[in-house]
Assembly symmetry: C2
């Protein structure tokens, strides 16, 4: 039995989107899975009613009277609202009553609450978000995608470990290549933190480090020194590039629709639009905490929530959490 | 008479590309313009010969026996090679014998040499590169695009001034809106430098500051607080996003070609491909130095060089250099 807790109050259009996403997910999941909707019971009940015929046998509703807003300061929100949907949802996992938590709410609050309540694996300095970037070759994990706006070199090395285990387990790539995002490939490029991280990564056992990579190498999925599966960067630049990419996809889609209205009905167009639509990718894992946590876009549609459930299930099934614990505890440069 | 000096030895395919770009530019420019090709005379002569029939009346060749490589450390290269094409080309401008300098060579070396030889305008702490990002609405200037990998808050405010004057003069937009690239729009978002810059920019006279903007707002050309013409960031994140954008354009173009081979001959396709092709935009200005300097992509084709000449001419004609001097000397937060 795998149980997925879903913050029903997180997204811009909560709880409608979360409830609809949960219902869609249950239709696709085989028996043996439960979804736990966490939030204001009355609001969730109303949203469920609007969904019509719902299989309630595998759906739990868990009361959490408080809601953390998008603009709230993370730590203050976590401490001041112990009965928020974020705290209650993570609490289920802490108490062994759930296997994963998904939220489209305040990223900083989810990260702070997960770090405080689930704790970090031994050897992990900070948790990080790892969104997958779709490319024309293979998806590339960028870590950190926005959880940590200031990072030191050892934290960046830690992200390399976290990303490598995720890609190995969840994407089933045995030897993921790791690049360090920089302004050029040469040793002397970058700011002080990145220069130090570059030297540390070269000596880190267990990481297949391909070297400094540039912004253009992410979507190429390779640089001249090898294949890239994981790109390490601080959360400031990772967040900027991630959001930029989403908007570039939307812009190109809009331009294409305007330029070639006659091709939009073709299957190739549908495939391309699906590629460009971030909601297909269903949120990004928060890696490093003891547990399974997925953070979704605040503007997620129901499809994104449904896909996040799929990713969460996959993370639980592939034991990425336990494998991160084992890898980081073994040592390496992250300590 | 406007004289444009062109580093003939900078690009990955120098001097062929530079010579071809110069010849193309001269064909389009009205009388009264000269191009000064700076580099190894023998190599330039050979490349000119390969071009066939060339109007030499408005083309000078200026000998510079040394070449700065892409991998060389900027300051060491500038001090160790006083007769490089970069140093000689900038020297012409310093001596009043040229009005602008264009190079597709080592960005760090061009910036270091320009700062040392032309000096910075009073009130400018650091020069910055300002690439224009094409969008579906209006081009947006991102500054810094890669010259400074570490910036403090006052330097970011300086970039806001530089970018504002450029957009006002060269793009003819009287009141450019300035956004600060951040991970969220709220006051408390970002790292320490960006938080401080946000507070400083709010109080800076002469800047139409619209607030924190996110990666997705760049291509939208607006955020909820207004129109965005200039996006301020440090050169690390600016460079990452710039190079990422170029590669995203190439990727989308490739996917479109594969999905819809039958539409590629249409005028709409040509227009879209032109939009996605960075070489149409012809390099980025290095702003803050006393003079006109344009930095091109190392992989520039001849068309990009030709377009850089056009941008340089426009910068000279609109007196952006003098206007930056006047604006920054007047004071504002840059001091």
């Amino acid at each position: 039995m795998i149980r997925i807790a879903l913050d029903a109050m997180g997204s811009d259009d909560a709880p409608r989107v979360e409830v609809e996403g949960a219902v869609q997910a249950l239709r696709e999941l085989p028996p043996g899975f439960r979804i736990q909707l966490v939030g204001r019971t009355a609001d969730i009940a109303a949203a469920l009613k609007a969904q019509g015929d719902v299989d309630r046998a595998r759906l739990d509703v868990v009361e959490a009277p408080e809601v953390v807003g998008m603009g709230e300061k993370p730590l203050a929100a976590v401490k001041g609202k112990p009965r928020s949907s974020i705290a209650v949802g993570l609490g289920l996992q802490k108490q062994g009553e759930s296997d994963a938590f998904i939220s489209a709410g305040n990223t900083g609050a989810v990260m702070a609450a997960a770090t405080l309540m689930l704790r970090l694996h031994e050897g992990v300095q900070r948790a990080a978000v790892g969104p997958l970037f779709p490319t024309a070759v293979h998806p590339v994990l960028v870590i950190d995608g926005g959880a940590n706006v200031d990072c030191d070199a050892r934290e960046l090395v830690g992200f390399a470990h976290l990303g490598s285990v995720y890609v190995r387990d969840v994407l089933d790539r045995p030897q993921p290549g790791v690049g360090l995002l920089n302004v050029g490939e040469e040793d002397e490029k970058g700011n002080a933190v990145v220069k130090e991280a570059h030297q540390l990564l070269k000596q880190t056992p267990g990481i297949k480090y391909v070297g400094n990579v540039e912004g253009r190498d992410i979507l190429a999925g390779q640089c001249k020194h090898g294949r890239i599966d994981v790109v390490v960067c601080d959360g400031f630049v990772g967040n900027a590039v991630l959001k930029f990419y989403e908007s570039a996809g939307r812009m190109f889609m809009g331009m294409m629709k305007q330029a070639f209205p006659d091709v939009l009905g073709r299957p190739e167009a549908k495939q391309l639009f699906k590629f460009l639509d971030y909601s297909e990718y269903g949120g990004a894992p928060l890696l490093g905490v003891k547990g399974v946590v997925i953070i979704c876009h605040g503007a997620s549609p129901a499809r994104a929530i449904k896909n996040a459930v799929r990713v969460a299930v996959h993370m639980v099934e592939t034991h990425v959490d336990q494998d991160i614990g084992a890898e980081l505890a073994e040592g390496g440069a992250a300590r």
